[in-house]
Amino acid sequence: MHLSDQEILIDFRTPALKEKAYTLLVKKYQEKIYWHIRRLVVEHEDANDVMQNVFIKVWGALENFREDSQLYTWLYRIATNESLSFLEQQKRKSAVDFDEVSEGLSNKVKADAFFDEKKLEWRLQLAIQQLPEKQRLVFNMRYFDEMSYAEMSKVLDTSEGALKASYHHAAKKIEDFIKAY
């Protein structure tokens, strides 16, 4: 069933159709949201936990969603905040510094069942883990999701100029890492 975001929102605000609309919303965006989260937290179990939290929040807040932003941008914003909170909790639990966090994430990448360091795609994943958190986030949104700087600016509350600079730095660093690997 192909429903636009607008139709899903109207149905969600109709008590009899609320659950059905919610299910459609989850089905429509789950893969995009999952991969956005997964690229940040790396492990599947963590990504699943974070995604659960994201859609629980969506259930509670969608009724009051102001349509001055796109539903897609709004979902990304919740998913980003939840992922960053999760990573922050992990850092606080283990009390590690940036290098250790980066190493931990790289180890998680290497532990994946499909990991193959000969393949460029996997080297790219390892390179991404070397970036500072904000750069990693910006790079993922621009490179994988092809988000415009205007959309990213709404999700991250950062100026388009700053985002562009961040993305350029990140892309250059990643290329250097892959070449040197």
């Binding site: 636009s4 789950q30 659960q52 259930w59 994946d112 350029h168 250059k172 290329e175």
Partner: protein, 187 residues
């Protein structure tokens, strides 16, 4: 539009596209071109790498994904009738009352903190004992002091019938005992 009508419409228009697809198409194409041009300048190597997801995901994960707590929230909850709530609270209150009163009475009478030393000090123990009949004192000592009836000394049972009395023993038996032990009988 209900579910069946939707299926019929999908069948009539198998290649139906999202409502705003054509409006968005040119915008998306332009964005895509800009995205590629940008990457060509800053990091061209990244254009040659596949952007398909590489991580392992359990089979069927997206088909089976459900938001667990939402399922619980939307499950129908049967409300308890109001009178049952009142009865439950009343029973709990009564039980709490019984426990509190019981605990108060018990601690008030039994606790060493509440032992009345003034009353105890006022008792003249010697005078009180003198008031007791001698028979009662003997009875008490026999029953309670070590060595009394039923108590054991050095693992030997003390038989009251043999203590302090040889009257029932025959003379012949006494003579035999004295001869065996080497003692001379008294004249």
């Amino acid at each position: 539009m209900d579910f069946l009508e939707q299926i019929k419409e999908d069948a009539r228009m198998p290649n139906r596209v999202p409502e705003d697809y054509f409006e968005q198409f040119s915008k998306k194409m332009l964005e895509r071109v800009l995205w590629e041009e940008e990457l060509k300048i800053i990091a061209p190597l990244l254009l040659d790498i596949s952007r398909k997801p590489v991580y392992f995901v359990p089979e069927g994960y997206f088909q089976q994904f459900v938001v667990e707590p939402i399922q619980k929230v939307t499950t129908k909850v049967i409300k308890m009738p109001a009178w049952r709530k009142v009865v439950s609270y009343a029973a709990a209150a009564a039980m709490a009352g019984v426990l509190i009163v019981g605990a108060f009475l018990y601690t008030d009478n039994k606790s060493p903190d509440h032992f009345d030393m003034t009353t105890y000090n006022a008792i003249n123990i010697s005078a009180e004992i003198n008031k007791l009949p001698e028979e009662a004192i003997h009875q008490y000592l026999n029953n309670n002091v070590i060595g009394g009836a039923g108590h054991e000394l050095n693992n030997e049972q003390v038989e009251l019938t043999s203590v302090g009395t040889a009257e029932h023993i025959e003379d012949e038996e006494l003579l035999n005992y004295l001869n065996e032990s080497g003692e001379k009988p008294a004249s």
